[in-house]
Symmetry: C2
């Protein structure tokens, strides 16, 4: 997957609840179900250009949410720290299951 597409997908994971249901439908079809612009246009009885504009506007909203809230960036920083933490726990103390279990819970919070 192209890097840009991966980023849009990641941002969509974090911010989809802030989009309208129409925006979510287009994004789901285009990015998750691999529909073409033309196929989405047909499905919704609108022009291909209208679908394109809607998707572009959604992408720019996702980037703006990220600029303001930084959830994806913080998520990446948190994953990195949790990896460091697991590694430090294992190095010093071997497999300490209760501690590692808490770390797994932290990893699954996002």
């Amino acid at each position: 997957m192209l890097e840009k597409t991966m980023r849009v997908n990641a941002l969509y994971d974090f911010y989809q609840q802030l989009l309208t249901s129409k925006q979510q439908q287009y994004m789901d079809l285009y990015y998750l179900n691999d529909f073409s612009l033309g196929e989405i246009a047909e499905e919704f009885h609108v022009s291909r250009q209208a679908v394109y504009d809607n998707l572009k506007r959604t992408e720019s909203m996702l980037e703006s949410f990220e600029e303001n809230l930084g959830l994806y960036k913080k998520y990446q920083e948190r994953l990195k720290l949790l990896a460091d933490l697991k590694s430090a726990v294992r190095t010093h103390f071997g497999e300490s299951h209760d501690i590692l279990n808490i770390i797994y819970k932290l990893e699954n919070l996002d």
Copy 2:
């Protein structure tokens, strides 16, 4: 501080970047600088009712952001897990500074 006020303050911490600058100004004056509705109204040359309506609408937007993104709830869950983690590390291994340092970094990410 009243529980409701504490909650509004906490949600404001997480979502203020999604509000308009006018909303942020009213919230800052009312919640952080303890201005009265009348004082804010005077400052902005609007009615007391207009300030009240704006603040109520902002509070309901903050609750809606929280309903959709749940950042405050996740933050509280994360803090609780990090407290459990520190306690487990200390119980099993005493003061392990490199591990505790990573935990402190995680606590300060939000």
